[in-house]
Point group: C2
Chain length 339, copies 2
Amino acid sequence: MRKVTIKDIAKAVGVSYSTVSRSLSKSPEISLETREKVLAACREYGYTANYVAKSMVMGKTEIIGLIVSSMDNPFMSELSDYIERYAREKGYNLMVCTTSHNEKQEDEVFRLLVGRQVDGIIFFPSFSTSYDNLKPFIDGVPTVFMSENLRDLPESYIAVDNREGTRLGTEYLHRLNHRKILYFGRRKHSTTHQLRAQGYMDACRELGMEPSFMDSDHPFSSIQKGYALARELFARPLAYTAVAAATDSLAIGMLQAAGEAGVRIPEDLSLLGFDDIIYAGLPVINLTTIRQPKEAMATTAVDMLLDRINNPMTAYSHIILAPSLVERGSCQRLSCQNN
Amino acid sequence: MRKVTIKDIAKAVGVSYSTVSRSLSKSPEISLETREKVLAACREYGYTANYVAKSMVMGKTEIIGLIVSSMDNPFMSELSDYIERYAREKGYNLMVCTTSHNEKQEDEVFRLLVGRQVDGIIFFPSFSTSYDNLKPFIDGVPTVFMSENLRDLPESYIAVDNREGTRLGTEYLHRLNHRKILYFGRRKHSTTHQLRAQGYMDACRELGMEPSFMDSDHPFSSIQKGYALARELFARPLAYTAVAAATDSLAIGMLQAAGEAGVRIPEDLSLLGFDDIIYAGLPVINLTTIRQPKEAMATTAVDMLLDRINNPMTAYSHIILAPSLVERGSCQRLSCQNN
DNA sequence: CTGAAAGCGCTAACAG
DNA sequence: CTGTTAGCGCTTTCAG
């Protein structure tokens, strides 16, 4: 069951196959009559252009590679969804690769995508470690990073302003009269998370509060991790009136631990998340959080990438999007006496 | 910045480029010595095989196309994640297209994928309508459907046993002494959902209960829809002790409406979902539900597809996986007096 | 064991 | 306006 090619329909119509090619593209230099005939034949025989062959000669595939840790993860899947839609709107298809937060696999799929001749790569790195081994490849294909993790690399990246996000959140909590705020789940080996911790510290300093941390050693956030960590926290008497969690997942884990420990949120403890994953807005979760503008991040990433693809000479650009506060039900104003 | 090709390294080593090609593939007919030299040169010059060219001559791309309604949707994103991982393990990459539950777009991306010369397509159809327009294309590329929606098409499909799922759930509720069970969110224009409704009816008949439905006109499930529908339900006095929801999303929407209406779950009303999306297990949601075995569905779908790809002559196969009950906290045993 | 040559389906000069 | 030709990077006979 061979696929019908340009040659088949050339023979059918009785023209050369370059004429067919021209009829199919919007070449002006073709008579209306022949074009009609060609188009008719294409329909009759069910011709579909072969993009592989086309890519071969055009030197571009119109495919964008996307590297993410995993897609079953509300933040990533939302982002991926926006990216796919927007890219397709722009005439590009998406080839998705997951890495399971595995550094070696990040390498592997990057190479894979390069071999596939993708026109560009949107890369969501899980680590802040050096990408030395990837460097020669990155030079070979337009890449935009979606994260501040690699901000020191001479590459384009887009991210939310993590530092500003936690600062915003901390100020909000302060405005609600909280003075003892715990930063929950600091991760030291991620630039993104260092920045979040930094924003919290900055706000604390400005507002005259003592920063206080509960660290997480885990390489990525999960509800489970938040749960485990929060259990530790609740095992001792509560020394805080509010917590700023490093991510929504962590916050949701704390929600469960709180329920079990009899800590009421927000009555006994205000809880602030980060990311605004779709779970956060769920009725029974109802988490107040710092929102990352996912759709804007996605479309901007694609636009940046296409820009690099079309103008290879342009300088690297770094775009930092503003986070925003989404007020829901997990934070409560403290009456002054409680202070 | 041209990419280095097989020819470049042929010149560098001083052999013909077919020798390079042979060294790179596991051809036995090559001296260890030359192969070493070639491999060394490849490393030195940073050669990466061009899969587009390779695809061209091999007549296959080792790419699988995946068509889903959207990826920001817990069920789909989990499934997609499993599919990507397993496919890559098998040497295939994934090209993902979303359709936004739009029939015209299903067509469009299918054609697109065919043009991209994908070796096969995993298709999650949103509709039960005829796929007449797609028929000629489907014949041209191995396709497996993930859904019972197209069970009448002479094509391979894999799905969970929807009918058995609701039957299982209804029997469970009956075992908990519930006799007045509402089926919530029946969708009439989807075969999948007709089967779920059927399973519920079958169980009702067997167990001597009167089936009762609340229909949804919406083409797909969402928390919002469940919420809206449940508000209607709770506006009148409650005539049921349990509800079997058509999907987890619908059930979660009901959870919110219940909270607002002062209906306690499970004390006042037992609630059963369907799908076991990742939200369902969330601490505060804790939904008892019928689980679709997502990982098995994903790997089986890939295996079925690869099978069709490698043996084009094999007959269509239909695989129906067994659902299972996941007991969590949203269903309660009724004491007999309450009956 | 290795080289030469054909060809995958298509586009893009270059001629007419 | 249309046909001829070369060639994209690679695999694979077919000869040595």
